[in-house]
């Protein structure tokens, strides 16, 4: 119940701020980027953080969602077409995730990283060469349906969906694969099945994020979804903590704010990103949150401990 109230409050506050024009267009774009990045990071966290499968191809799935949604809304520019576009995009990304995941998830660790990277490069090259995707120039004039309400719905649906998945027995199976694949298999867990399930759910959500991206920014081209985009998402997940959903959310917000400030120095931004990646890995490999979660109860506990400390003094 508390959670629902907190969610409702967050939504209402920002909606009021937008309606009263207190948030400028530029800040709104940042807000959209944050929401999309949260969806991407949380879904990559399911694959990399919870299941322990290192994927470098998340941007590839995102691009499938973006292109499918763009096609459908360009042909059918209604809100109905938009919703179909989002789901068709997500389904297409999930299908691709299944097709790619089934053979490559037999690989371990770094081989999988390279295979997924290769897969996303193949997707990008295909989009560059196809007629209907308008090649390297990309698609323009995609009708804009995304607003804060839609973003909020999809974002909370993704977060709740994935966090509930992790708490289910399927999610536990995924975590056991991360901890020790051989031991998990010995305990009778069908590791391939759960790895593919996590991969498909992750790519489904990446498809949603791509669709929202296409519909808000009304312009997509293959180069937007290259290796760097995948690394961007990875940085969020690593900074937040592999295996912490609230960490991913915090990191997405933090990084979006930092890059807003560094907008005019793109090179310095990337140097800082890179240095941050190295420094986090050396000094705090568990990221901001480790595998802990931020929750309302935690705030409650914090409050209690503060009170008790005061009492003692």
């Amino acid at each position: 119940m508390k959670k629902l109230i907190a969610l409702g409050l967050t939504y209402a506050v920002i909606q009021i701020l937008i309606m009263t024009n207190l948030i400028s267009d530029y800040l709104q774009a940042t807000l959209v980027t944050i929401c999309i990045n949260i969806i991407l990071a949380v879904s990559l966290n399911l694959i990399t953080g919870f299941t322990g499968q290192f994927s470098l191809g998340h941007a590839g799935f995102m691009s499938i969602g973006a292109y499918v949604c763009a096609f459908i809304t360009l042909r059918n520019p209604t809100i109905f077409g938009f919703l179909i576009g989002v789901f068709a995009g997500a389904l297409a990304a999930a299908l691709m995730g299944f097709l790619v995941g089934l053979p490559t998830l037999r690989l371990r660790g770094d081989y999988l990283a390279i295979a997924t990277l290769g897969m996303s490069e193949i997707i990008r090259i295909i989009f560059i060469n196809l007629e209907i995707t308008n090649g390297a120039a990309g698609l323009n004039g995609i009708p804009q349906f995304v607003n804060w309400t839609w973003l909020f719905i999809f974002m909370t649906a993704t977060i709740l969906g994935i966090s509930n998945f992790i708490k289910s027995s399927h999610g536990r199976a995924c975590i056991s694969i991360r901890e020790d694949e051989i031991a998990a298999e010995a305990m009778g867990i069908n590791t391939i099945k759960y790895k593919v399930v996590a991969f498909v759910i992750g790519s489904f959500c990446a498809g949603i994020a791509g669709a929202l991206y296409a519909s808000y920014f009304y312009y997509i081209k293959p180069d937007l979804f290259g290796f760097l985009k995948s690394v961007d998402i990875l940085v969020i997940v690593v900074l937040g903590g592999l295996g912490s959903i609230s960490g991913s959310i915090l990191a997405a917000i933090l990084l979006a704010l930092i890059s807003t400030y560094l907008q005019s120095f793109p090179e310095i931004r990337m140097i800082l990103y890179a240095a941050a990646l190295i420094a986090i890995m050396i000094f705090r490999p568990q990221g901001l949150m480790g595998s802990r979660e931020l929750s309302l109860e935690l705030f409650g506990k914090l409050g209690d401990s503060l009170k008790s400390k005061k009492g003692r003094v």
Partner: protein, 294 residues
Amino acid sequence: MEGFLQQVVNGITLGSIYALMALGYTMVYGIIRLINFAHADVYMIGAYVGYFCMTFLNLGFLPSLVIAMFVCTVLGILIEKIAYRPLRNATRISVLITAIGVSLFLQYGMMFFVSANVRTYPEMTGIMTKSINMGNIVISMQQIILVSITIILMILLQFIVKKTKIGKAMRAVSMDKDAAELMGINVDSTISFTFGLGSALAGAAGVLVGVYYNTINPLMGTVPGLKAFIAAVFGGIGIIPGAMIGGYFIGAVEVLVAGYGNSMYRDAVVFAILILILIVKPSGLLGKNTREKV
């Protein structure tokens, strides 16, 4: 037929570059099980050092090559010391993420200092401009020099790995790090040496590419780096002759796809080869199957 032979000549030239880079990937992977993403950027920096020597110091081709190899050796050892050594006992994912970080750091650091503009290598003079015609097949002197330098470096590498004491140490560490340490081998310095050796080859590849293709830029390493890694996987990662075979194979495939198919798809074909190998025979052409034990 002549067209095909010409393509093969070009493929061998390109393959030499991939083979040189693949050697670095394969040695580092063999010894610490890490895909050294930064390797591709060491190659880029080698190309820039060569450019700097030739343009501003007016040095010839060979001195520039040697200087670039030296600078890259130092760089490789530094990268290992600063970024990878603190993570010796960390999980493989953390080290891999660090490698991506180092790679981006080098790329954008370089972009910050020399700008993202494309630089052009100076015109070659003297014997480097000549070419040999055999029927309709043209082999330029640059191609001959490039391939022969590659072969000389490979022979040198084979000599170091097979015949010297440090080479023996390298092989021992890559077989079993703990056992090697018990036998009195200094594991850290052996790993440093491996990084230096691999980076020197990458630096050489960078200068050769600069001379052959003329243009360089700070992001030039990424795609050839990935392909060289694919070449290493193709030949069987950790196996030095495998990397050479893989390099020439990938080079030939790429040139043939560009020549007879659609040149836009040549990168896609190489990645498709990677996924195919990983599915069919993940241990590579010369690799042996190893079972993972608990």
